[in-house]
Assembly symmetry: C2
Homo-oligomer: 303 residues x 2
Amino acid sequence: MPSKSTDFSAEFDAAIAKVASDVEGMLDVILPHADGPEARVFDAMRYAIMAGGKRFRPFLVCESARLFGVDPVAALRVAAAIECVHTYSLVHDDLPCMDDDDLRRGQPTVHRAFDEATAVLAGDALLTFAFELISDRDTHQLAEVRIELVRRLALASGGQGMVGGQMIDLTSEGQQIDMGGITRLQRLKTGALIAFACEAGAVLGRAPREPRHALRAYAHDMGLAYQITDDLLDVEGEAALIGKATGKDAHAGKATFVSILGVERARAQAAMLSEQAIQHLDLFDEKADLLRQAARFVITRRT
Amino acid sequence: MPSKSTDFSAEFDAAIAKVASDVEGMLDVILPHADGPEARVFDAMRYAIMAGGKRFRPFLVCESARLFGVDPVAALRVAAAIECVHTYSLVHDDLPCMDDDDLRRGQPTVHRAFDEATAVLAGDALLTFAFELISDRDTHQLAEVRIELVRRLALASGGQGMVGGQMIDLTSEGQQIDMGGITRLQRLKTGALIAFACEAGAVLGRAPREPRHALRAYAHDMGLAYQITDDLLDVEGEAALIGKATGKDAHAGKATFVSILGVERARAQAAMLSEQAIQHLDLFDEKADLLRQAARFVITRRT
């Protein structure tokens, strides 16, 4: 008989697989098609989006939306938009002038499957499409809600969010960086979009200040635990499992949580952050159980 | 004593210089700063934006807004956002994997002055910042107006607009392309954002359908006249005047309006489109005189 924790894990696995299937189905329908010579950029957008991935950010949107009784289709549209932004960032980060990666999720990266120019444009178009999607009346009947989502997505994704984090990451190669520096780097590079994913459900549900703040605090700690685990997997993971080269960070002379803390302390830090993330959800009832599971998942995942 | 047409031209020159100065002043204030290592991406954004340029799109926003009595500061914010999108497209188009240009407006392009990775990120951040700017409550008190601007900007800039046009441009190098094909290419690559610039004033002013359509029709013809003139300048212009290498299109084996129509017919076509653009403004009074002048300017400019 499976233990209770295994049950929980199976429930989480099923829930995230359902969201992945739903968001991929929606993206397949809403991503634009074209007959003309511009079809190449749409093919590349679709290739990048449909390459798989956990769809963790969409899961966070859908689960946070469920806390406030939000229409699941509305949540899925915002989830799809966030996945477009996440995917664009991967396409650009993989470029030869950035991380120069040939593989992503076990498949050739967009600039390898197409070419560099198409990869730049597909990333640009995915970012733009996210705003097109959110601003559509189908996402929410109230313009106030749609514009708040646009604004928070822009703040999370731009120079003061994700792009700023990537800039810090690039400039800090081979540099001394301390725990505060790397925490800030990751808060911008991955944390800002994860925080938006968690807060988006609250925005859609017009939730008051307190649960919003709780979700942001949850996202902050969970996102950092996620990133520390990424660094641990980079050191310990098997290339075949995670579908990309491992040990890359050390090779690139990049400071990571593991290079600063060591494996054991990094693992303990991730566990502490995961617990802390779960505590931020104390004001929610059992509806938040899958978010609690997500905080456990981020530190136990193998890929 | 100057002729009437010279008077008009001086009035137009002064008006567009005023908008350029205003929009640069505003961008200088609103573009974000940073102290951390991400400052590099903000420096690159500022470098790209402040490299000069006619600020023709901002001028179109401000003049279309004036037709409907829109608050000039609101118009200027939207103008600044459109200039950010235009500038991002130039930064990415200049990359080695795209047009591979070393000079832009007589200065090193962003990837030459900084590096390729920073140029990709600065473009990404400029695009994102445009949405941040428009979605801010300071742009318009009504969420309905802000979200309509976001949506139209996304549609004009993405795969079905500007980015799609750039994709067609890249795939059509060395290909046979006819007048219909190149018109469609330019309608997407440059026309869509110019049309949004002209319509933005009407959106801000909550104008009815008829003047909106007139402005779109004006933008369509004027934008095409602008592009045909670009092709003429590429053949005839002096490199020193336009601040970039000339004859590039022919060298790259790109079809242009001039390669299809020849110089004389291209010139006649631009003149016809300019006149037609002016006729679309017949429902406006003398408040539209500077837009009429703009349609003359696009075919007589030297740079």
